[in-house]
Subunit: 318 residues, 2 copies
């Protein structure tokens, strides 16, 4: 096993003083509408507005002082960059985030707002890797990959650890969205191991946009998809599944279910309207998958990790 429940528990102890203990939310009206009992772990209310604070904090707080002094580095156009910047700031460590020059201004501002250095590069993988290599060369910074990294996976697994501890009884299913696979792989490890401890089982289901379905394709064929051209509003899920993540997901995830673009928008509106919380499109994908595949969820108790709430209010999809 690449990552174990005890590593996830250690991660939780490590990061707990710094993160929010986010609530579980529910809505009888949503349950009635969708024909199952849903428990929403509100990681949109997490630090930096996403579960990514968990992995970022665990990665930075696992480093020794000598490494921290040289700083941390990542490439990200989204929440992981902000999370790493936030965590590094807590430790007084330097952080550099390589971002494509076409990344939304609001996301560059968020990363800079936490005191990190932003290096802009043209929006290609080659340019991004060159910028990362140059920065490592210059500063000796430690690269913290957004998802294909064990401390990140262990950190993201703490959301499920926490959520299952907040519920009276184990749900039948736990769901997360899947992009690079950090959250889903950490969740699968935590959920199965916790269920086994009490002699029970739980189904772990990933939800993915039809327009970025590399995880579903790899899960179905047994062969990791190495690149894709994503076309989805769920900007947090456009990454391709990581190597470690694919391995864990193939072994431990029970199913991956797809959601349409219209379904994602409808689900986002449903959560905004009924739960009165802001979730980003990526966080709505699980809810959309439940709406569009009712036969899989009818009458079940389903925990859903709402992954984040960072949305541009001037560009809403309705």
């Amino acid at each position: 096993m690449i990552v174990t429940l005890s590593q996830i528990r250690e991660a939780h102890t490590r990061i707990q003083p710094h993160i929010h203990h986010t609530p579980i939310m529910h809505s009888q009206q949503v349950n009635k509408l969708l024909g199952c009992e849903l428990f929403f772990k509100a990681e949109n209310l997490q630090k930096v507005g996403a579960f990514k604070a968990r992995g970022g904090c665990n990665a930075v707080f696992s480093m020794d002082a000598a490494a921290l002094q040289k700083g941390v580095l990542t490439h990200s156009s989204g929440n992981h960059g902000a999370a790493l910047a936030w965590a590094a700031a807590l430790k007084g460590a330097n952080c550099t985030v390589v971002m494509p020059e076409n990344a939304p201004l609001v996301k560059k501002q968020a990363v800079r707002g936490y005191g990190a250095k932003v290096i802009e590069c043209v929006a290609s993988m080659a340019a991004r890797e060159a910028a990362v290599a140059a920065e490592i060369q210059a500063s000796g910074s430690t690269m913290v990959h957004p998802y294909d990294n064990e401390t990140i996976i262990a950190g993201q697994g703490t959301a499920a650890l926490e959520a299952l501890g907040q519920l009276d009884q184990l749900p039948d299913i736990i769901m997360t969205p899947v992009g690079g696979g950090g959250l889903l792989s950490g969740t699968a490890i935590a959920a199965h191991a916790l269920a086994a401890e009490v002699g029970k089982t739980i189904a772990v289901i990933g939800a993915e946009p039809q327009g970025a379905s590399d995880a579903w394709q790899g899960f179905t064929s047994g062969q990791r998809v190495e690149q894709q051209t994503p076309a989805t509003i769920a900007d947090g899920l456009r990454s391709t599944l990581g190597v470690r993540n694919f391995e864990i997901i193939r072994e431990q995830v029970n199913d991956i279910v797809l959601a349409s673009e219209q379904g994602i928008v409808d689900a986002m509106r449903l959560v905004w309207t009924r739960l009165k919380i802001i979730i980003e499109p990526s966080a709505a994908v699980c809810v959309a998958a439940v709406m569009e595949n009712p036969q899989l969820f009818a009458g079940k108790r389903v925990a859903i990790i709402l992954s984040g709430g960072n949305v541009d209010l001037d560009a809403l999809p309705w």
Copy 2:
């Protein structure tokens, strides 16, 4: 005293099994931006999406069986109608809500969704009163005024009772928006009496839109304004202050502060963006008042009751 802390405590015991114990939320970034320490009581996450569930539930659950059998009645174009309908449904009692025919469809649907009968009338006070009188005549229903009513005031006061119990120490200030004055008057009674019990004081401040400033005018002149022509996006605050409410507010509220329309919209966006929760314009008025009157709040610990989260997502003010 019209309503006492012990009545508010009784109300809390009565309604507690039916309402949500809503969280207190905070944001270091918002605190930094506004120069004070803010504690948000998230009543937008309350049943029916607003604190009005508290008063509605207290009113209905205070009635005897004989009265309940004849049903309850109110006039409302907003959250109070939904709250009364919801509370009546819990008791299996009939509920009728007189609504102006131009009330938003979504609000009529909400009231009907809880099983209440909607009587539409032309949008004038005379038509509304005639419809209410006819319904009382026909059914013997009990009229439950949205704010000028003791059980309603006691019920709304439970939000402050709960919020102050959730905080480690008494804040310097507690703020609510003011429309008809149910929430502000209940809050003033609860907060001052609770502070006195521990030998402390607390300032109770109401926030009101400049475009519907009858409470501010009455508070300043000592003379209740009997009617106004409101012009504000804060649709929950267009009512004129009630008689009982004015009396309590004049005696017990420390200040009423105004907010501009632009400030209300900016504050709403700030809360959506930073706290990741949906609040309606009426709930943003306190935050706007803090933004626009920084000298009153600098360095203070301020509890704000976020009154509700019922917003039409197709008609956002940006």
